[in-house]
């Protein structure tokens, strides 16, 4: 049996209490929600927090998907399962369900949360790329109040986010925009595995041309998930194979994958191009049909 090192455990009954506990217990305290990344790391003793603050009691405060004021607001404690099942998200952003269907497996999706996925900031994690492509922002709360941070600024690097020691992510806000289409493409070695490479794409049409685009990759960059040059290559042009190929090539050029057991860097770079191209094709079809 793998057993964690000793730790103290507290249950928070409100977001304010969780933040107060974080302030009091200091940087060796960690929030636990679904626990599907943190607990395995603790059992392997790769993570040895001194305090765990359980935020699962905050379901009523932080588990929601609401459409209001031109936004979809997703509470940080919303489970993957709820994101996958959400008709609101599926209607506005097909990319979300496509990505969720490829995240881990049902037991993980039943417990794992949006906030946990984003805050763990694993470089192969999917939702960071999804929300970055959609131009979402995050809401981070501390004892001094809330601040809003874009996905690009939120995701600072592998396992690094903009959330401070005594802060917590409470919400993700995704703008609703007309004439859009989105798609997610991922290659993994088997069901439940992390991505070897993945590409999330969103396009919004302005008349016959692409008015805005979001392209974000997973598992091929230690830092920075959005591919700005690739996005720019599409804007102002009609969606076409030629434009997709150009953008996909730029996405591949700008990524910086590492060789590991999932494959060599040149394969992953190729996937960045191939998957971005495929996702662009499908996103454009959806945008044109919207």
């Amino acid at each position: 049996m793998q057993v964690p090192a000793p730790f103290d455990y507290a249950r928070a009954s409100s977001v304010d209490e969780a933040i107060a506990l974080l302030e009091r217990l200091g940087p060796e305290a960690r929030l636990v929600a679904g626990g599907h990344s943190l607990l395995p790391m603790m059992k392997l003793r790769l993570a040895t927090p001194e305090h765990l603050i359980d935020i699962n009691p905050l379901e009523s405060e932080l588990n929601y998907i609401r459409e209001e004021g031109g936004l979809v607001r997703i509470g940080a404690l919303t489970r993957h399962r709820d994101v996958l099942a959400s008709e609101v998200l599926a209607r506005h952003y097909p990319i979300v369900r496509e990505a969720e269907e490829l995240i881990a497996d049902p037991p993980v999706r039943n417990r794992g949360t949006v906030g946990g996925a984003l805050c763990q900031a694993d470089p192969s994690e999917d939702l960071s790329a999804v929300f970055a492509a959609l131009g979402a922002v995050t809401v981070i709360r501390g004892s001094g109040g809330e601040r809003v941070v874009t996905m690009e600024d939120f995701h600072e690097g592998p396992y690094e986010t903009a959330v401070g020691d005594a802060e917590m992510l409470v919400e993700v806000r995704v703008p609703i925009r007309e004439h859009g289409g989105s798609a997610y493409e991922k290659v993994k070695r088997r069901t439940g595995d992390w991505a070897t490479a993945a590409s999330g794409v969103a396009l919004w049409l302005d008349g016959a041309n692409v008015g805005a685009a979001g392209i974000a990759l997973s598992a091929v960059n230690p830092t920075g998930i959005r591919s700005t040059r690739a996005e720019q290559a599409l804007i102002g042009r009609p969606p076409s194979e030629e434009a997709f190929a150009e953008a996909a090539a730029l996405a591949a050029e700008d990524c910086n994958p590492a060789t590991d057991q999932r494959g060599p860097a040149d394969y992953k770079r190729h996937l960045a191009q191939e998957l971005t191209h495929r996702a662009l094709r499908r996103a454009a079809e959806r945008a044109l049909a919207s």
Binding site: M1, D105, V187, Q261, G263, H270, E274
Partner: protein
């Protein structure tokens, strides 16, 4: 699939007796054993692959309030227990004394009140290591100046373990000289994999200082062999050792060896006077216990232009890790690898195998495999496909042309095996029929024209199982014969005691069905006792698909002894001569007067009752048998795999998999099919995703199921099974054993299918595991990696 509503009284489809307890979570595994006062052990392992131990300081751990004892190699050395023999005439460190030789090697053992404290205390032990250069690549293990791993062995100045050969090099050379076509393969590795049973290894040791009795609950596939080895190594009297293998959550060869943790638990119980439990975790299982395969193979094949294969030659470099801990008959250091001639009638064959040490975990065990048969089958089935490609002959046609013919059995191979029986063409034809082979080839041609990449792969394997004849085979000096005891109680209910041990194979059902078939009593009236050395006769255990071929035969023989004895009892009861009695299922009756007879149940009561028995017939209805197999059995199978490859991502989707197995007589076809399903899933895992990998410092990169991938239902197709039945002529019920066949036969079918799909890119070989990255690389490099 036939229904199961009709309950067979002997052979036939029958739900397993074991199912209710497993389905309800009521199994009783080693980790479920809890004894009063039991303590918990944990192993400190080496972080380095090769290093000299300069000091070990356990004082802080000793002071942990819940720690009862800390044992190091020095402590064991004082008892002569720092080293133990492996099952291959090598030695293995129980706890390291001088050096560590692989990452994950056992260095110290902590015993504490609970498992948490034991693991916490591991972090309090301070070990000073002086790092040494490592040997990771077996190709460099014999280089001049390579670090000597086993300097513990007197006079050892290199990393060589053994050289072994079979067949005739001279004959092979002669055929190669005058053959029309000869083909030399590139190095074809069968990568290091791990059996990865879902239950990891562990033990509970309970030594009673008053009675001197040691009870050991242990995850072992071979409880009797383990008992004898403990007696030989530890000097404990054998009658005072009881090894109990309770429910076992999968073994696949991983639970044949004795591991240092078992020995530490035993020593810990002796030292503390309390029962000690040790259960390894997943990482420990994957990184320190018996791996499998790890053969680097080069093949040569000689053939006529028209496709008649004439000779095969193979040269192998075998990586055994830091200790040669293979479990196999001692006469064969490379197991049964010389069955590499497969299912083909050849003029000549020759193989060499060179074993070397590296700084990796010790092994390799026969993972659902009869001692290296899997490596052999993979190589020959790849070589035949390469030859088919070279000669531009359909791979199925080439196989058909070269099969040993039905009338050639018993067939003696060029490397000395005597195949018992088979009808390979019939088995192959059945697979082609189920697959619709010709239509598949048409579909493939159409798809290729559209730029879609579909592949069809075939493999035909011959297995050699049921080890084995005592004259040829032993494990650590113990002959590979197995006993069975059958006791029929007065009311006709029976208890069968067997030496083999199920790890999921369904022995409690299959063996009851053998008795039922022989005696004509319902299988539910037969209780099967196994896994406890105090309660069962001696035998070597369950691995190498040997349970049915050896213990199944012993069970049939002991049942027949009961039947013969019942005849004598019936003759007394019916007052006729035994010669006047005739057997029908479940009953002896008087020839010419079928109404007059006695059932087995009636005979059992009479045997225990007041009937005056004939002279020389003892009371009761009990018997014993020991079966020494006259030969191995040779199951075979034809497998066809259909894949679709996405050339843009390299992803391989297995669309169909057809498996026709001929394992002789099927005792319980449901169990056979379940075995085939499991082995096929493992084979797909091996072919597509599994590799115990190391970096250049000997760090294991595959220490969890995040990195060592096990296929799920999403990665495997609905299996399409078929059968042919060619009974084994020398086995009492004609059964051949089936447990491993599908793991042996499936990897080459999958790889052949992928290579077939990639043919338009000029790809002729892709190494396992055939990951998306490998497929993409093969497409990119096209013909740059052809056979040399």
């Amino acid at each position: 699939m036939a229904g199961t509503t009709e309950r067979p009284t002997g052979f036939g489809r029958l739900k397993r007796k074991e199912d209710p307890r497993f389905i309800r979570g009521q199994g009783h595994y080693v980790d479920d054993v809890t004894l009063p006062g039991m303590l918990h052990g944990a192993v400190l392992r080496s972080p380095l692959a090769h290093a000299r131990i300069t000091s070990i300081d356990t004082s802080a751990a000793q002071q942990h309030p819940k720690v009862r004892a800390v044992i190091t190699g020095k402590d064991l050395e004082a008892q002569g227990l720092a080293w133990m023999p492996t099952l291959s005439a090598d030695t293995q460190a129980v706890l390291a004394t001088d050096k560590v030789r692989f990452q994950g090697q056992e260095v110290a053992f902590v015993i504490a009140d609970d498992e948490y404290a034991a693991r916490d205390a591991l972090e309090l032990i301070d070990v000073d290591y002086e790092p040494l250069p490592v040997v990771v690549d077996p190709r460099t293990a014999l280089d001049a100046g390579a670090p000597v791993i086993r300097d513990d062995k007197d006079g050892k100045s290199d990393n060589h373990i053994f050289d072994w050969e079979a067949g005739s090099e001279e004959e092979c050379d002669r055929v190669f000289e005058d053959a029309d076509v000869t083909l030399v393969t590139q190095e074809i590795p069968f990568q290091r994999v791990h059996p990865a049973p879902l239950e990891t290894c562990g033990a509970v040791a309970d030594y009673d200082a008053v009675t001197g009795k040691l009870r050991l609950w242990c995850t072992t596939q071979a409880p009797h062999a383990h008992r004898t080895l403990y007696a030989l190594v530890a000097g404990l009297p054998e009658h005072k050792i009881q090894v109990i293998a309770p429910d076992i959550g999968g073994g696949f060869g991983n639970k044949v060896p004795i591991y240092p943790g078992y020995v530490c638990a035993i020593v810990g119980s002796i030292v503390t006077g309390k029962p000690v439990k040790w259960m390894e975790d997943r990482t420990e299982n994957l990184t320190s216990t018996g791996f499998a395969r790890d053969y680097l193979m080069r093949g040569r094949i000689a053939a006529d232009r028209d496709g008649k294969i004439r000779a095969l030659r193979v040269d192998v470099l075998a990586d055994h890790g830091a200790f040669n801990a293979t479990a196999q008959p001692s006469k064969y250091p490379a197991g049964f690898f010389h069955i590499f001639t497969g299912s083909y009638d050849l003029e000549a064959a020759y193989c060499t195998v060179k074993g070397v040490y590296t700084n990796k975990a010790p092994g390799g065990v026969a993972y659902r495999c009869s001692f290296r048969v899997t490596e052999a089958a993979y190589l020959v089935e790849r070589m035949v496909d390469l030859l088919a490609d070279e000669l531009e002959i359909d791979p199925v046609e080439l196989r058909m042309k070269n099969f040993i013919k039905k009338e050639q059995f018993p067939y003696t191979t060029r490397t000395g095996w005597v195949y018992d029986s088979g009808d390979y063409a019939a088995t192959m034809n059945e697979a082609l029929r189920i697959a619709g082979y010709d239509e598949l080839r048409k579909e493939q041609a159409e798809k290729r024209a559209r730029g879609e990449y579909m592949g069809i792969g075939c493999s035909f394997f011959t297995e050699t199982v049921g080890a084995g004849p005592k004259k040829d085979m032993d494990i650590a000096g113990l002959g590979m014969a197995d006993g069975a005891e059958l006791r029929v109680h007065p009311t006709g209910k029976a208890v069968l005691r067997i030496s083999v041990k199920t790890q999921g194979q369904g022995h409690e059902t299959t063996f009851a069905q053998i008795v039922a078939e022989e005696l004509g009593i319902p299988p539910e009236d037969v209780e099967v006792v196994h896994g406890d050395t105090d309660q069962t006769p001696f035998g070597l255990g369950t691995y190498g698909s040997r349970s049915t071929p050896v213990s199944g035969a012993a069970t049939a023989m002991v049942s027949r002894k009961i039947r013969d004895k019942a005849r004598l009892i019936a003759s007394a009861a019916l007052e006729v001569s035994p010669d006047d009695l005739e057997w029908e299922r479940g009953r002896w009756f008087v020839k010419g007067d079928p109404e007059k007879g006695q059932t087995i149940q009636e005979a059992a009561f009479a045997a225990h009752g007041t009937l005056t028995l004939p002279e020389g017939v003892e009371g009761h209805l009990d018997a014993e048998a020991v079966y020494d197999p006259p030969n191995l059995t040779y199951p075979c199978g034809a497998y066809i795999c259909v894949v679709d490859v996405d050339p843009g991502t390299g992803e391989v989707k297995i669309r169909r998999f057809i498996a026709v197995d001929d394992c002789g007589v099927r005792i319980n076809p449901m169990i056979v099919e379940g075995q085939v399903h499991g082995g096929l899933a493992e084979g797909v895992g091996i072919a597509l995703m599994q590799h115990i990998a190391f970096d250049d410092q000997g760090n294991c990169l595959s220490g969890s199921f995040m990195d060592y991938l096990v296929p799920s239902s999403m990665e495997v197709p609905d299996w399409e099974l078929g059968e042919t039945v060619t009974p084994s002529p020398h086995h009492p019920i004609g059964a051949k054993g089936v447990g491993e066949s599908s793991n042996v036969g499936s990897p080459p079918a999958v790889v052949n299918a992928v290579v077939d799909a990639l043919e338009p890119f000029g790809v002729r070989h892709v190494d396992m595991p055939v990951t998306p990255a490998r497929v993409w690389e093969a497409i990119q490099h096209g013909t740059t990696r052809p056979p040399q």
